[in-house]
Symmetry: C2
């Protein structure tokens, strides 16, 4: 039986042949029952976490991913619905939105007694790479893209994100949930079918740690939520705002790192995806469509991007971190990419060749 | 008159037509005098630093770089020596090693009263992007590469690095000196002439801040230098060592982030480049050549890489940070690159598809 979620969305939970979980999200009450007819394949093993003592960061070593099992032939997209004998990752003959466990997950369910080791420099032991990696197919239409989805379809994607955020956050070994999309060959995407991913980490990712530190210190100093004040500055400065509606605002941030970078945030403070209410959820699709369409419109080409949901960690910082979506594109000009070279990748020091106000202007000038 | 440096190297200092500084480094006593015959061009302006309040990191906005002046035609490499009427960045008709100020520097000399603002969240003012960006040409031979240089030539490059580290460290507005090389189109290199760069930052780059924090805490806890202990573990584990000599050791680090990653460090503790003594300097070339040659040998192709010198900041951490060279390659397999996508670039959480021991084995098996 399908389970009713908010927004009129219904979820059907099934299992793939190798035991992985798959959930269908539909905008009407249907109960999915399609059986995965592929040969049962064992799940790959679990990788491990190693501590880099030079910076005290965990590295997930997922060497089992090198020997990935079952990659379908090129003419068969594994994210399209299953048609006749063409068996894909999605057993049903059609779908709206579907989420399933990654076939070669970098992070996966650990044994029940798993615990993240205390960081103690060089003596820190390895740990199983606990967490989860999921694939989110945005539509069955292979040639579409997130920006081209209907507002109703985006609403269903959002319900899927919210539902998975909620479910993953309840796992004892999950500390942070990160839904994202890599789009374009320029960022290494090999499957062009419109899809994103969700990584659930069993440790705080370095960037989240750093954001948390800044947010905590801002809260302690001012009593306010940092991103609230960041948005207030954008509203005051006005010139970097790309679009907005009563519940959401999209802007090029004051200190953008990438030639084209758009942050999209709910106007009312929300710690994480699962906390978005009906009104916020209903008004997400229009701003997402407009911002992404403007991005593609700057050069009149489908822009390669990384779209990342930042939110509060599962167990801490819920009072000072808040949900927002960062979309960054590495394309500077039609024929030119920005590469993360020495300064960015080795030092973490970003050099921006374009004023954020200039890229905001280019995005504002796109007809929509 | 040329100035004698260690290692039998002599330096001649001159100015380019637009006022930029150029230094020739020669392995014999010659005094360079060639005049830059190009039209005098004004230097581009200075960029500015903006604080990203979400993580308290400085972003250098260098929009003046978009309008770069004088880019020579494609058939004329600007890093080759000047021949007849083909006027390049190097006015002399030949050279061994040459260092000059970048024509469109992201960081440059500020006014004399420049000061880095205190970080105070959203109220932090912008600052001029103080610092320096220099180009280091490793050889006049356009088709060569660092690995193919003679040991004598590498010794001269090293003296140039040491000399520039020393000079840049003395500038009142410089906090950290970072010599590096991006090689290969895969990492965005457009000039194939063998060369590296030096960035001198007026702030601590985020990665250095983090390394400093780990090194300080290790010193406080153990009384020892972190990298000393890291190397001791590599020596004990043995299996990730690629090559060594009495003064240097090269290894794939225990928690490597990239498919092929080699760290090369002097065995005796040295805080920064300029502190390398004669014995260490003499034995750098053989290990550098071997490590880079092995890297190219893994797939029998010139490997794209980012080679970064990490060292102690100019004014702090000299007692706990130490010099080492990190060479990382994004190539996983002959036809496959590792892209920094969502997890790495947005979360800072690295996923390694190859065990460091496996990539060490591949590097060890290359015939040398």
């Amino acid at each position: 039986m399908a389970k009713g979620l908010s927004g009129g969305v219904f979820r059907s939970d099934l299992q793939l042949a190798d035991g992985r979980q798959i959930s269908y999200y539909d905008s009407k009450e249907v109960t999915r029952t399609a059986v995965d007819k592929r040969d049962d394949k064992a799940q790959p093993g679990i990788g491990h976490l190693r501590l880099d003592p030079l910076v005290n960061e965990w590295i997930a070593v997922a060497s089992h991913r090198q020997h990935r099992v079952f990659l379908p032939p090129k003419e068969l997209c594994p994210l399209c619905p299953t048609v006749d004998s063409k068996l894909t990752e999605v057993p049903d003959k059609d779908y709206e939105v579907v989420v399933f466990t990654n076939r070669s997950p970098a992070l996966t369910t650990p044994s029940s007694n798993w615990k993240l080791p205390q960081i103690s420099g060089l003596d820190t032991p390895n740990a199983d790479a606990a967490g989860a990696c999921e694939v989110v197919c945005y539509t069955q239409d292979h040639g579409s893209s997130f920006a081209k989805l209907s507002t109703k379809q985006i609403r269903t994607v959002l319900e899927a994100w919210k539902d998975r955020d909620s479910a993953l956050s309840k796992l004892s070994f999950v500390e942070h949930v990160f839904p994202f999309e890599n789009r374009g060959e320029e960022v290494g995407v090999t499957l062009s079918h419109p899809h994103g991913q969700i990584y659930a980490y069993s440790f705080l990712p370095p960037r989240i740690e750093k954001m948390l530190e800044a947010a905590k210190s801002h809260l302690a100093k001012t009593g306010r939520v940092l991103l609230d004040d960041v948005i207030a500055r954008e509203v005051k400065d006005k010139k970097r705002i790309i679009c907005e509606n009563p519940e959401w605002i999209a802007f090029v941030p004051y200190a953008a790192r990438y030639p084209f970078e758009i942050h999209i945030a709910p106007k009312r403070t929300v710690a994480a995806m699962a906390d978005l209410d009906e009104k916020q959820s209903d008004l997400f699709a229009p701003i997402a469509k407009e911002a992404l369409t403007r991005l593609d419109g700057v050069f009149g080409i489908e822009m390669a991007y990384i779209a990342s949901w930042y939110q509060a960690p599962v167990n801490i910082g819920r009072d000072c971190m808040r949900l927002h979506w960062q979309i960054v594109s590495v394309r500077r000009q039609p024929g030119k990419l920005k590469y993360l070279s020495g300064s960015e990748s080795a030092m973490g020091a970003f050099i921006m060749d374009l004023e954020p106000e200039q890229s905001a202007k280019q995005l504002q000038e796109v007809k929509y």
